[in-house]
């Protein structure tokens, strides 16, 4: 009887030990996944991406940028998808949270129109960047 108790105790200790290890790994993986989806990081990457698109574009070009990740995050933070990109005075600002926002400038002196792509009204996840004319 005593031997069986000891065996049961060892098994229990091992099970707890394994569960704790799995839990630790799960927390680490969740932490890693969450880091890549933060508003600060996405705002910066979208703002720089859009500014560089505009810099390298020529009048007449139309660029469609998928912003599905940004849409999910903005709506979660109570912002409308139509309001997340601001283009003023050669500066692109991407705002995915109430207090946040990241700006990056472009040197190409063009007139740009930026608006959500409504070609499929049920799935609006992209933005249209239209390069009109040189200023």
């Amino acid at each position: 009887m005593k031997e069986r108790d000891r065996r049961g105790k060892i098994l229990m200790e091992n099970v707890i030990f394994i569960i704790l290890n799995v839990l630790f790994l799960a927390i680490l993986i969740l932490f890693l996944l969450r880091q890549g989806q933060g508003a600060i990081l996405l705002e910066q990457s979208y703002a720089k991406q859009i500014a560089l698109f505009i810099d390298s574009a020529k009048p007449g070009m139309t660029i469609i940028l998928d912003m599905g990740k940004a849409k999910g995050l903005a709506e979660k933070n109570g912002l409308k998808f139509e309001e997340i990109i601001i283009n003023a005075n050669n500066i692109i600002t991407v705002k995915l949270s109430e207090d946040g926002g990241y700006s990056y400038s472009y040197f190409n002196d063009v007139d740009v129109s930026i608006y959500p792509d409504n070609s499929d009204p049920e799935h609006v996840t992209s933005y249209v960047i239209k390069i009109n004319e040189y200023k």
Binding site: E13, F17, N21, F24, L28, F31, L32, Q35, G36, G38, L41, Q44, S45, K48, L52, D55, S56, N89, N90, I91, Y104, S105, Y106, F107, N108, D109, V110, Y134, K135
Partner: protein
């Protein structure tokens, strides 16, 4: 009793290892995600492309670059507006300019001496570029250089373009 003590030491040892692993992963994540993306090199290449497109079309130099006397001084003076480049985006950039570029024209028969050049932006940035010739410093400016040949109907020219981008606040931590 002896066995129990050994198990406790192993558990403690394991706990320490877990903490080291977690610390290492946190440090890696911090260094990867909490440093801005440095896009200055791409920006420099884009400026060079824009200048090259403005100066030359399908291997032929723009006619606006020349007048009766040779290279046009007025084209040089108005180069930024002619090529649709705007360096005065933010007000603070008047005090601390963020861009510079230099275009040198060499005749194909003499690739040592430049026959014409166009400089725009802040000359102060050139010194930061020179100190990086041997070793690159992240907190300094980014220098991008490229060259191409183009023809004007009479002569073949080598055109060397150096673009310098500062913008350290937005690209380096």
């Amino acid at each position: 009793m002896k066995k129990k003590g050994g198990a406790k030491i192993i558990a403690l040892y394991w706990f320490v290892i877990l903490m080291i692993v977690a610390g290492g992963i946190f440090a890696m994540v911090y260094s990867f995600y909490y440093h801005p993306y440095d896009v200055r090199e791409i920006e420099g290449k884009i400026i060079i492309n824009q200048i090259a497109d403005c100066l030359s079309n399908q291997g032929e130099l723009s006619s606006e670059l020349f007048d009766e006397e040779g290279f046009s001084a007025s084209y040089k003076n108005n180069f930024l507006s002619e090529c649709h480049i705007n360096f005065n985006v933010e007000e603070s950039w008047n005090k601390e300019p963020q861009y510079y570029f230099k275009i040198d024209f060499y005749k194909s028969e003499d690739l040592e001496n430049s026959v014409f050049n166009i400089l725009k932006g802040s000359l102060e940035l050139v010194a930061s570029c020179e100190i990086q010739e041997e070793k690159e410093y992240k907190r300094e400016v980014k220098c991008v250089e490229d060259n191409f040949f183009s023809f004007n109907g009479e002569d073949l020219y080598l055109i060397k373009i150096l673009a310098i981008i500062k913008k350290t606040e937005k690209n380096v931590k």
